[in-house]
Assembly symmetry: C2
Homo-oligomer: 385 residues x 2
């Protein structure tokens, strides 16, 4: 990071503020001398900035250890970042479950609540269920609603930049829903809406199976498979937010629906819900031949979807989540088939976060937003490419 001179003084103040917060956040506590050394700012600048941050509530003086004071006299004042100065929510809206995560400004998770919801629930019912979960979570953690700084929300379907669900086959009344706007009524802070598979990709990269890779495809295997991709560590949403919506891919040239794919009889599986599918998986585990054949077909479809993604994007790593994480032996055929079809086969691994992936990703997106506000040093000197 370079140093800016001249230009807008309020911009400069904001940058210096971000630089100091950044430094404080990376450490337990620091003296003014230490901050001056780490940031390269002048002592008076650091003093002014720290004073401003204390007023804003983001920094607090740390009380010295009394035993140290007794032995060595009063040490230099130390300051720390107040991660408790604000809070974040990560929300996951699924077909049979809504979930909420609460964290502080360091992204440390303070609590979680999940609620079942009927797959046929209306949009109003589903949102109400989510509000109930949030209220319960805040109450349990003793966190006031106006302490929230950002809320991340993950939903199935194609999500537009303004938080509207452009298209969603998985949830009733969801297509066209102004999800961001609807949820904004419950919060005073920004509400950020993201596709569920995208959120899960972000989560696995943050603290799951993909922390070591910046080029990742996360496949959310389920009723309607979806995928989220990181390219160079950043989410690839696509031109219209529909990247990775590969649900229709298996239909190409083969008129196979999930209902027939997973059926163990000659009739389509009905209702096709996660419980019915879990039952098929369980039977297959017990050795039922028809169930094993159905699971085999499911895996073949997954292989096809993942191969298409891998060929198009050439990721370093594919993380498989959703239903497939409950399947024994899904990795082996995936690796074998990708090695057959890809000129450069990616590594394949299972999700580490499991059911928590989507809400965790939503939380990370809320944290990203707050970090941009608090710590982003716009106007930093960077190379052109």
């Amino acid at each position: 990071m370079g140093r800016l001179t001249g230009g807008d003084p309020s911009l400069l103040r904001r940058i210096n503020s971000a630089v100091v917060l950044h430094a404080l956040r990376a450490t337990d506590a620091a003296t003014l001398t230490e901050i001056t050394r780490v940031t390269g700012l002048s002592r008076p600048t650091v003093e002014g900035v720290v004073e401003g941050l204390i007023e804003a509530g983001y920094v607090v003086e740390k009380a010295p250890d009394e035993s140290v004071v007794r032995r060595q006299g009063r040490p230099a004042r130390r300051f720390r970042f107040r991660a408790e100065a604000g809070h974040l929510l990560g929300l996951d809206i699924g077909s049979h479950r809504v979930a909420a995560l609460l964290a502080d400004l360091d992204g440390r998770v303070l609590g979680a609540v999940a609620k079942d919801v009927d797959e046929s629930a209306s949009a109003d019912e589903r949102l109400e269920r989510l509000r109930t979960a949030v209220a319960e979570l805040l109450r349990r953690a003793g966190v006031a609603r106006d302490s929230l700084r950002a809320v991340g929300v993950a939903s199935p379907g194609v999500v537009e930049a303004d938080g509207t669900v452009r298209l969603c086959a998985a949830l009733p009344e969801w297509t066209g829903l102004r999800l961001g706007e609807r949820l904004s009524r419950s919060f005073k802070c920004p509400v950020l809406v993201e596709n569920d598979a995208n959120a899960a990709a972000v989560a696995e990269h943050w603290k799951g199976a993909a922390t070591e890779s910046d080029d990742v495809v996360f496949v959310l295997a389920g009723l309607s498979p979806g995928a989220g991709s990181l390219i160079g560590g950043r989410l690839h949403r696509g031109y219209g937010g529909a990247a990775g919506e590969i649900g229709a891919l298996h239909l190409l040239g083969r008129e196979v629906t999930p209902e027939t794919l997973l059926s163990t009889t000659d009739e389509p599986l009905h209702p096709l819900d996660e419980q019915a599918v879990a039952e098929v998986f369980a039977q297959a585990k017990k050795g039922d031949q028809r169930a094993r054949a159905a699971v085999e077909r499911f895996i073949q479809r997954l292989v096809h979807d993942v191969a298409a993604l891998a060929l198009a994007l050439d990721p370093e790593l594919v993380v498989v989540g959703g239903w497939a994480t409950g399947l024994d032996g899904v990795l082996e055929p995936l690796r074998r088939e990708l090695a057959r079809y890809c000129l450069r086969p990616p590594k394949v691994t299972l999700s580490l976060l499991g059911e928590a992936a989507v809400a965790t990703g939503a939380l990370r997106l809320a944290l990203d937003h707050v970090e941009e506000q608090l710590f982003a040093v716009e106007g930093t000197v960077t190379a052109r490419r």
Copy 2:
């Protein structure tokens, strides 16, 4: 663009030099006063920089119009960028053809040469053919070899960052070929190797069918279909340079080879070369039923490949090039099927550059390299995201 102060003085000189070149390149010719105004640099700085650029050969004083001199007396000195100060090559290595484009530093094409080459030619023979084409091109244009500033080369297959072909099924002896190194022996300037479909995507974005879009998938329909993608205007190569290598996709779940796909008899098409395929297309145009069925199968496979790319990447625009550009009625089924399978179907159009797309893209990559050297203002003040 902001202004840097302090720091490395040679960096500052280089930046000022780039800023002045940038300004001169955007205009026909400019006076020192005009350059001073446009760049915001001081008059002495501009004078020093222009003097240095004249010495380096990149700038020349433009002789005043004698009629103006007669009428109004001698005007202020005007300077122009010398696009002829260096030259660029764009090379296309195909299975039955090698081609070369020559351009000046403005990217203006000064000449082109193409040579047929046998599909079964060895790597040495193919490279020799390319060298012959380049020598002929330079001789015809009267351009000295040491005037070349960069050479872009496009090749089928997965190309590594160091210019080695990691894998290529289309050309004999091509897998493992250190293509960049081999060609570097013929040139003193940098040689940049890129995948052919990637190069074509860059070309259509530069001066073809995709000048209006930054999120583009270019599909090179041929024996082994490949694709190149631009995301936000930049080439997406993938983690290992294999993004878009969808040649194997149609094999998934359907053991259909191109030989049987395009056969008009019960026997596989042999030899499967472009001539044989062109013959099938011509028969189909004349109304031959079996040829029409074969072309129909070819289009279906193309639809499947394009759909997979569109679902994975969600581009704004798909440009179809290669064989398919010779096919009447390939657009209509593509648009219809993509509308069926994509949640957000992309626009679909045919390549505008046709056979020239790959070499034109290689040329653009050479130009990009030179522009980075001459005009890139590293260390410019830019927003963080």
